[in-house]
């Protein structure tokens, strides 16, 4: 990758039956998601970057520093890599209070002046928990403590290993909000492992898709998720991620209107203020194509688009159609029969119909 400040890892190793062979390059800013089905090697990859995975061979370079070069016998141990790691289960120290946990890394990092401990404690709402014992916390509280603990160790790279997967829906939503705020306020690059596409669509700027121990695609989020050549294991994830500006709320019908490059979208009402950026994932299977604008359709969103390309889907009855809506990429999964019946071809003008109901959450 051209940017020298990012992370570059080229690693090979064997973990049980899985042979991992990875070559990933990440930008020096923003959130990169490692996404893929269970058992694809996402967590192992993250552990190898942190230096926790024994047996991984290859090169890891971050921000101009060489962390590992097996050929030359270079291996910087995890505690010298300046990274923060948030595990799937919080792994808080049970022999310390919440405050003790927070200060563990903070002290070892030398309590740097640019880290505002009190502000972080308030931002993540852990002030009421400071004196509590770790084993009295709920799952969501533990993860918030774990995130603040990692931030306070003054990391140059933050690693998240499915931090929300063990949480219930409410706690998960709450933490997703915290992470979105973190993305906006923190200059430190983050790598986020997940198998939930909705988390990835909300948080990530950059995407690395893994399947069976290999990188199948990597690049900017929108462009990567609308590729037509992804393996079947990732077919449920493909679809567009639209980033737009909230232009208004309809209090009567409880809808929020979003303006993006290809037009406007109605989504179920969200709390975001007018003028704020909002992301919205449109799954390929929720898009209906028509040749003309429908005047009596229940679909609230009709987006004028042009067919760019078509590719076979994993089921022989279906195909994936890539659309261009004023510069935004959309993806539609339709039957081959419809493709033929509508006489579609690259260049055809179509209307992409999306139920607002499908854009909830």
């Amino acid at each position: 990758m051209a940017e020298s400040g990012g992370l570059h890892a080229r690693l090979q190793w064997r973990r049980g039956a899985l042979v991992l062979d990875l070559d990933i390059a990440l930008p020096p800013r923003g959130i990169t998601a490692l996404f893929g089905p269970s058992g694809a090697g996402k967590s192992s990859c993250l552990r190898a970057i942190a230096g926790l995975e024994r047996g991984s061979e290859g090169i890891v370079r971050f921000a101009g520093e060489l962390w590992q070069d097996s050929g030359r016998g270079v291996f910087v141990p995890p505690h010298r890599r300046r990274l923060g790691y948030v595990f799937q289960e919080a792994s808080l120290f049970t022999h310390c209070s919440v405050a003790g946990n927070l200060d563990y890394g903070y002290r070892r990092a030398g309590q740097p002046a640019h880290l505002d401990r009190e502000a972080l404690v308030d931002q993540f709402g852990v002030r009421p928990l400071l004196a509590r014992r770790v084993d009295t916390l709920s799952g969501g509280e533990r993860q918030r403590v774990a995130i603040v603990r990692a931030l306070l160790s003054d990391p140059a790279l933050l690693l998240f290993d499915e931090p929300l997967s063990a949480l219930d829906a409410a706690a998960r939503d709450d933490l997703l909000g915290c992470l979105e705020a973190l993305r906006a306020s923190l200059a430190v690059p983050m790598i986020y492992v997940s198998h939930a596409i909705d988390e990835v669509a909300r948080l990530a700027d950059h995407l690395v898709l893994l399947d069976a121990g290999r990188v199948v695609a990597q690049g900017p989020l929108q462009a990567t998720l609308t590729r037509l050549d992804l393996p079947p294991a990732l077919s449920e994830a493909v679809g567009a991620v639209i980033e737009g500006i909230v232009v208004g709320h309809d209090a009567h019908d409880h809808l929020t209107e979003l303006a993006f490059a290809g037009g406007t979208l109605f989504v179920p009402r969200r709390g975001d203020a007018v003028g704020s950026m909002l992301r919205c994932r449109i799954s390929a299977r929720d898009v209906v194509l028509t040749c003309e604008r429908q005047h009596a359709s229940s679909a609230l969103n009709q987006i004028r688009s042009r067919v760019v390309a078509m590719a076979a889907a994993e089921h022989p009855s279906q195909c994936l159609v890539r659309l261009d809506a004023g510069g935004s990429a959309l993806l539609a999964r339709i039957t081959r029969r419809s493709w033929q019946a509508l006489e579609l071809a690259p260049g055809s003008e179509v209307w992409a119909q999306v139920k607002a109901v499908a854009l909830g959450g």
Binding site: P78, H79, R82, S91, L92, H95, Y104, R108, S153
Partner: protein, 227 residues
């Protein structure tokens, strides 16, 4: 007649001194060994663990017999010690300490091994990702989290050393003030038909053992949820 004769008290003191010495030495030496057993992936892990467990199944007299041969003045060790100006170990307090350490080894190492294993590698990884080096990880995370194992190891190691008989008889003889410990003294009393004195000492040991086990279970924190 006094409850305990001066000789009985002497045996009592000697036993406590022996058990305390052995327990402290075993905790110091057993901790790194248990740590290694809990974390290593070496193929020597199982053989070493089996050797550590050997005194659990071996008759104490067998252990004592081999030690007598190994440490005696005509053995290699004995010659080496004589060469550097040390007296042979058998029939001395030092010999008793060495023998007791071997005999009580599994009672200290196994609780520590289990404790380190139940702490697991995750807290250590979390500490490493918070900039703690290996030694720092050990003292700030592994040691405090394994504390219940240290309580168990201390109590078991101490109590087991107090109660040994076969090994001390073989390696220590029965020398008043030097190697005559409580269990030997009780045997002497019974042999001499002094059932009253044997009763007193036995009762002391019984109360001590019960108190030790009770203290251990009271000191151990309630089972906590893992964080």
């Amino acid at each position: 007649m006094p409850l305990l004769s001066p000789q009985d008290l002497q045996a009592f003191g000697l036993t406590l001194r022996l058990a305390a010495t052995v327990t402290v030495l075993l905790l110091v030496l057993g901790t790194p060994l248990a740590w290694w057993l809990a974390l290593t992936r070496s193929r020597w892990q199982r053989p070493v663990a089996a050797v550590v467990a050997l005194p659990l199944v071996l008759p104490p007299t067998v252990l004592g017999f081999y030690l007598l041969l190994l440490l005696g003045p005509h053995s290699v060790v004995g010659h080496l010690m004589a060469a550097v100006g040390l007296s042979a170990l058998p029939f001395t307090f030092a010999g008793l300490v060495v023998a007791s350490m071997l005999y009580s080894l599994p009672f200290v190492v196994q609780p520590l091994h289990n404790a380190f294993e139940s702490v697991g590698t995750r807290p250590l990884e979390a500490a490493a990702c918070l900039r703690a080096g290996p030694l720092d990880c050990f003292f700030s995370v592994a040691l405090p989290q394994a504390m219940p194992g240290f309580v168990t190891a201390t109590v078991l190691g101490f109590a087991h050393t107090v109660g040994e008989f076969g090994v001390v008889l073989m390696i220590g003889g029965n020398i008043p003030g030097r190697t005559r410990v409580l269990s030997l003294r009780i045997y002497d009393h019974v042999e001499a038909g002094e059932y009253h004195q044997a009763h007193m000492l036995s009762l002391c040991l019984l109360v001590f053992s019960f108190s030790a086990l009770l203290a251990m279970s009271l000191l151990r924190p309630r089972r906590r949820q893992r964080g």
